[in-house]
Amino acid sequence: MNRHFRLIAMLIVATVSLGAGTVEAGVIFPINVQSGTPNPNSAVTVSLFDANGQDITDKFLPTWEPATGGPTIYVSFNAPGVVPTSVTPTLKTFNGTPVFNGLVNPFWVPPTAPTTSAYPGRCTNYDGFATDFGGVPAPNSPDYTFPDAVATQIPGTQRVGFRLISQDCGGMAVIEVTFPSGTPAAGTYTFVIPADSNHNGIPDSWEAQFCPPTSPTVPSSCPLGTEDIDTGPLSPSQIGDGIAAFDEYRGFIVSGKHVSTDPRTRDVFVHLVNPQCGTPSLLGAGPGVLAFPNDGTGLFDNLASLVPASQVHLLGFNQGQTNGTTNEWVDRFQSFSQQTGFQYLDPITNTVTSVAPADDRRINKNAIFPQGTPNPIPANGLIHRGLRATECLDISATGPLGTTGLGGGGPDGPDGSLVYTQRIVNYIDTLIANGQGRALRVFTFQNGNWVQQTNPNGGPVDANYVKSQAMKFYLAHELSHGLTLTPTVEGTKTTSYGYHHAPGTGSVQDQTIVQKIDKSASGFNSFYIPSIYNGADQSSYKTE
């Protein structure tokens, strides 16, 4: 009996604690529509709940996914003494056609009252397509739907609320509600959801995490949303990555998933085209077809030692599969062959051309604060690009094994990287044959030393393992040329390594991998294949 009593007592304590937690959850205050300032003394506030009844007021961030659309949340009014079902809130929408001038967010320019955003497309890089959930949004359509005229019960709670459905990767909802006279909360209230105290379009909760105070008196490092102040990973580094803080918050569709990028760290967008110049791809051709790397590692792992993996965004990438064009950037690519070079589709003349159209590889088509290179159509905003790596299976020559096109300025230059995968395979086969049966070893440079590697999936260090490491080396090597590595010619006039480090330094930007064959027939055939970049590389690469 005592035991039963203790159990009930524990449950009561737990319930009170849970209730206390719920009470302590934040609320959204109405704003003064002229100043945009929230009124913390208002009798009426808003709480947000997800479809499971969890209070998400403090953490709700709008998003949208191609496969599932945006989440449905519930807007619930906290109004003492008022029957919540007696009001009908409305979604305040923009009257007219918004102008995106790259300077201000047209949906909230105090003292003009804010309106629900209607940002272009779905996300910074993505329009939305017919096959997506919800298809393509109509021009200037609000970034939310607010379908209920009458509040309904929020699942899992005793409260009622109005459904709010996100239609954009980072939209702002503006809801107006009027409580009738004679009630304790009489009056008209305007709420911005999610809460955005400094009306820069970035929710307070996200801004607190990703735009931290720069000093006790400067509460945000991106108060305008136009800031592009990314740095790193090492200091000194270029400042900025060509994407304004707001557009990083709004985010990108990356291989089918929404990703908000971090405005503190520089991001790189990469798309692989595999294969061209024949079939099957050696980088992924479907189940059962040998593809490199085949040791369980990722094709882009080496690049992630230059730009941290969380900041390398693989657009339209299907691991182990072929990849052509993608709708996750502006893609004008048509083909590459040794005979024709790169071919693109000109969007203006609708003809195939060998000159890349200005917006090819553009990742900021829908940016509110676009940065980058001039656009031939200025009204369409500055252009920031990602990197394209194209696999070519040509073997009409044995070399080069990779190239990167005319550059300058990081991804915003007209770069196009080629990786000749079959030449790489043939070359490694030749080097292995030169070893006349000696056992293979692979070394990578780690912590100042060449360290012998083992196959991470437990397999042997065989020809395919060597090719896997070489493939990752050449792919990252060429992509980082597109990030302006190395920025200067290295070596002397008589022994120039071009825009590379000398062979053997251990960086992926070394001009070579190195092979060493032991004299003894019982010795080894050793490959020294860098897999990381050095500190100078990490300081000097450019992202715009």
Partner: protein
Amino acid sequence: MIARVVTTVIAIAFAVVSAVMPAWAGGPADNPTCFIAKKTNTALPGTISANVQNALTQGNTDVDFTLRLSGDNGKTFTFFRASVNMQVFSRSNAGIICALLFDVSVPPAPPTPQAALDLRAAILSHFGLSPTAQFFLTSASLSNDEVQGSTGQWFCNSTLTDPSVLAGPCNPQRGGSMADVILYVK
């Protein structure tokens, strides 16, 4: 009369002696296939020029070669010409010459360009060399290159070239360059 290079005659058969072999990732020395460590007995000094229709394409382009070679140590010279569709982008001067004079395709690769084969045969025939002989370069074979970029290559591209010159001599698609060369034959 074939110039005989007075050097110790050493067989250049591939020697497995702790050799460190570069595997070039593109760049100035894009794995030139016809490099040898030491000269052979037979040398053909002269000049080679290469002119391209499109130095900027990363694919192939038509390249017009003119070789002016001497088989008598510089007393007399003979011209040889060939037009070959090939890749020059990101290739060193040596890499381009190796592709022209040395590389032989192995199926399933496309056949070696007939113009290149004809050129090789013409040179060998003219100087009375064995029709099965091959051409090689040493690291000192090329000199007095007409360098357009900053790293010793004939043709401009940003993998190799100082970006500051991209708006200058590297900008036109058509381009050409020359160098002195000593071809070694064996």
